[in-house]
Amino acid sequence: MIRFVAQRAVESLVVLLVMSFVVYALIGLMPGDPIDIMLSGDPRMTPEDRERLRALYGLHLPIWERYWNWLAAAFGGDFGYSRTSNRPVLETMGPYLGRTALLMGASFVLSVAIAIPLGLMAAVRQRRLADYGINLFCFAGKSVPPFWLALMLILVFAVELRWFPAGGIETVGDSGFVDRARHLVLPVLCLTLLNLASVARLMRAEAISALRQDYVRTARAKGLAEGRVIWGHAMRNALNPVVTVIALEFGTLFSGALITETVFAYPGMGKAIYDAILGNDYNLALVGLLFATLLVLVGNLAADLAYAILDPRVSYR
């Protein structure tokens, strides 16, 4: 078990390392040039200054060496400065990370808490009205353009009903708890709805196959109450594969968070990455992408672990 976890952790680190090089190389191919951006801010600089600056920042080196220098500095905790905020990248990233964790965490818990009973209900009432309704809802959830769902929520709840603010994290001059919570409602609702459908659909499929098993028939035959059969026997066994897929879909959840944050102007990691890429903030974009990769890798690792813990038949030498 420990060996298995260690092996997976090492594999994840390798993926992260490869990813860091790929992203480093890709970021170098983005439009614009860091030195040109600096030069455009100061008309007195000459072409000689330009070359001196390139040498100063090591930009004349081949990509392998530049990457190596970056990696060495990164292991020392130095990820460079963010161009737009003029502060170290990690310091800039901190608050974004916290806000995204809050958004993703809340949506994740809510969507799973709603999706599992929903999927189970559809399975129990298979081919009846409730099942068709839930199924249609799931198809709609999987098929809605995420940013459009966000826009529709703004249109209904912010523009028409005026119940919740349309974006941001707090009203200027009012940073109380209630105000912040009100700003969180629509983004969390949006991401929850996006995540709900796939979990509910999977839960339905797994519960249907669990309800067909012999041990369910046995439980019914020995006269157990139907509620106990469903919640105690069928659900527990349907849950295993669902947990795995939930964790494997962490990347999808992050993609959803990126879109949600962008539409609601919610300053989290996703929006920070998007803004950094459009604003030529190379260091911030690089670290943001690596954080996102790390997040997904940890999710996948958690999936493997959960699977081993939940299903006693699975054993890893």
Binding site: P145, V159, G251
Partner: protein
């Protein structure tokens, strides 16, 4: 000999059964109709343009945000452009990107899956680690980086790098680049089980070259699930394209796509919410239809998997 004759005699029967199963899936049948209408609207866009006498990018400043009329059936946008005509042209983009990228992903995934499953060993281990690695990436963030790359820096001349066609092909290319993983896993699994089947072992024993075994004996037997998975992926790809175009990184204006129509309309959310509603509904309807179609195909081609 008798085996071949048997297989041939059996074929029409299985096909009819598959068709019957497909027709029983009401959602899939309705979706096939919806998609037929979307395809016709997309193909008919140039005809509609000629008939109406104005193009999708023609601005009519005398009729900005005009209500629906016989000239502009769904009204005009903030630049006085025909909304319905732009929707029809946007449909061409969505369908083309969705189908082309799904097909390309399927080809890449099938090739990788068959190679990994058939040869096994180190090649299999390498290809599957690669697949796991790609699956583990935050796809959307990576796609944003890939879509933002300056093509001039990879040596493509300026005149080509900023043309309309390139923004279209680039998006098909980058989506296929990360979209093949699901099919690769599916095909690898199917190939592994095919490799132990008697007819494949017989072909190996007869000395058939590996390429022939993979293409003639294995491929036709794993293609069913690939068709299902590909159909199911079209919807997701259309969504991804719309997200990238909405973020300003996909199809570049003035060329209309459902995604960039939305990012333009977003600023008009207060004055003209219908401009936001139409393209979104178009995307959703098309994607739901593709998902139901895939579901129906699954019931038809792979009846055990759909349960």
């Amino acid at each position: 000999m008798s085996d071949v004759a048997l297989a041939k005699a059996e074929r029409p029967g299985t096909r009819n059964r598959a068709l019957a199963r497909f027709l029983r899936h009401r959602g899939a049948v309705v979706s096939a109709f919806v998609l037929a209408i979307v395809v016709l609207a997309a193909l008919g866009a140039p005809l509609a343009e000629r008939w109406l006498g104005h193009g999708p990018n023609d601005t009519d400043l005398g009729a900005v945000l005009a209500p629906p009329s016989w000239k502009y059936l769904l009204g005009t946008d903030d630049a006085g452009r025909d909304v319905l005509l732009r929707l029809m042209y946007g449909g061409r983009v969505s369908l083309l990107v969705g189908l082309a990228a799904a097909l390309a992903s399927a080809v890449i995934g099938t090739a990788i899956g068959i190679l990994a499953g058939y040869y096994g060993g180190r090649l299999d281990a390498f290809l599957m680690r690669l697949t796991d690695g790609v699956i583990a990436l935050p796809t959307l963030a990576l796609l944003i980086v890939l879509a933002a790359i300056d093509l001039k820096k990879v040596g493509i001349p300026d005149s080509i790098a900023h043309s309309e066609a390139v923004s279209l092909y680039r998006i098909i290319f980058i989506i296929s680049l990360v979209g093949w993983t699901g099919v690769a896993r599916l095909v690898r699994g199917a190939t592994l089980s095919m490799r132990t089947r008697e007819f494949v072992r017989a072909a190996v024993a007869l000395g058939a070259p590996a390429r022939r075994i993979m293409l003639v004996h294995i491929l036709p037997n794993v293609i069913g699930p690939v068709i299902v998975a590909t159909t199911l992926s079209v919807g997701g790809i259309i969504l991804t394209e719309s997200v990238l175009s909405y973020l300003g990184l996909g199809i570049q204006p003035p060329m209309a796509s459902w995604g960039n129509m939305l990012s333009n309309a977003q600023t008009m959310l207060f004055q003209a919410p219908e401009l936001v509603i139409y393209p979104g509904l178009a995307i959703m309807l098309t994607v739901i239809a593709f998902n139901f179609l895939g579901d129906g195909l699954q019931d038809a081609l792979d009846p055990r998997a759909g349960e």
